[in-house]
């Protein structure tokens, strides 16, 4: 039996990346700024979007990713936001969104008069970072309750993001964590990332978040 080796040298995720690039270009041509929010479960992504809706209202649309339930989508709908739910499946469902999921969702919704598209990725600090969903801005949300070491433990999410939102800062007085050490660890992983401190509960830091959105922070 004679064996023959054939060189391939192709990116394993090239199909995903091509779809992502198509989405990115399409959103840009429509004048829509597209943000992919990634984080652990419970970091406050939905709360941040609820508070964002108070300012952007019907100018924003959210594609909500969860393995199961429509709970977050229901919260956002109550906040007056257009929302489309993706459930990847109750048992053994994917723990991240891929560009093809987003492309399918975009075929189902109207983005007329929308200036901001958010993907609230599935709560998981590992897998979502691997898959380009075609966004203009990847923002990783890290709550102070998660401790100081998470950027070091899960570096890819911070490497592949241009913005890090340190959330729930109103809880700092009750925690044995140092926000400067959190920031130092984030910058060790990605020295170029922009970091903002924010509490969606009290509103501290929301103005800086809105300025990033309004200025269409794009890298």
């Amino acid at each position: 039996m004679k064996l023959k080796e054939i060189k391939v040298m192709q990116n394993i995720l090239n199909v995903n990346d091509q779809i992502a690039e198509t989405i990115r270009t399409d959103m840009k041509s429509k004048g829509i700024f597209y943000i992919n929010l990634m984080s652990s479960p419970g970091s406050g992504k939905t709360k941040l979007l609820e508070m964002t809706a108070e300012r952007l209202g019907k100018n924003m649309f959210v594609i909500e990713g969860d393995i199961q339930t429509t709970l977050d989508a229901e919260r956002l709908a109550k906040a007056g936001v257009g929302v489309y739910q993706i459930n990847t499946g109750p048992f053994g469902g994917d723990c991240h969104l891929e560009a093809s999921w987003i492309l399918s969702a975009l075929k189902e919704v109207s983005l007329d008069n929308i200036s901001y598209l958010f993907v609230e990725n599935i709560g998981n600090l590992v897998c979502p970072a691997e898959f380009d969903v075609g966004s203009h801005l990847n923002a990783v949300v890290l709550s102070v309750t998660e401790g100081e070491d998470k950027p070091l433990k899960y570096p890819l999410a911070f490497r592949n993001s241009q913005l890090c939102v340190i959330s729930k800062t109103d809880l700092l007085p009750y925690l044995d964590v140092n926000i400067d050490r959190i920031k130092t660890n984030i910058l060790k992983v990605n020295p170029q990332i922009k970091v903002i401190n924010l509490s969606a509960e009290t509103g501290v830091g929301m103005q800086e978040w809105f300025e990033i959105l309004i200025n269409k922070f794009e890298v």
């Binding site: 023959k4 054939i6 391939v8 990116n11 394993i12 891929e98 570096p155 060790k188």
Partner: protein, 116 residues
């Protein structure tokens, strides 16, 4: 658990190349994966072995994984270092202007098979 999606994507890509190759069956798929990707080799192989069962030409294929260390190069002083801990600042001049020169790979290097 992104290894499942990576296994599916790499088999789709390998299958595409298989059909263009004229090979009768695949015996080996070699991938190169940088350590930045947090891929657990055993989990990736497990998914590969499960998925290949349903693919003509791949049932005897093995997955070979070459892992790449994470290496950064300082854009200020030019020093290169292999990261043993997660700190992408330059250990020589402390510049934050560094680039990853290795460790971000995620590609199929080659497929191997028989022509008869």
């Amino acid at each position: 658990m992104h290894e499942g999606a990576i296994a599916q994507s790499l088999l789709n890509l390998a299958n595409l190349n298989f059909h263009r190759s004229g090979l009768k069956k695949i015996t080996r798929v070699k991938v190169v994966i940088g350590k930045l990707h947090n891929v657990i080799d055993e989990v990736l192989v497990m998914h590969f072995d499960l998925l290949k069962r349903d693919m003509n030409g791949f049932r005897e294929a093995i997955l070979e994984i070459e892992k790449k260390e994470v290496v950064i190069k300082c854009m200020q002083c030019g020093v290169e270092k292999t990261l043993n801990e997660v700190d992408f600042t330059c250990s020589s001049c402390e510049s934050t202007s560094t680039e990853v020169t290795s460790g971000n790979e995620l590609h199929i290097e080659c497929i191997e098979g028989t022509e008869d």
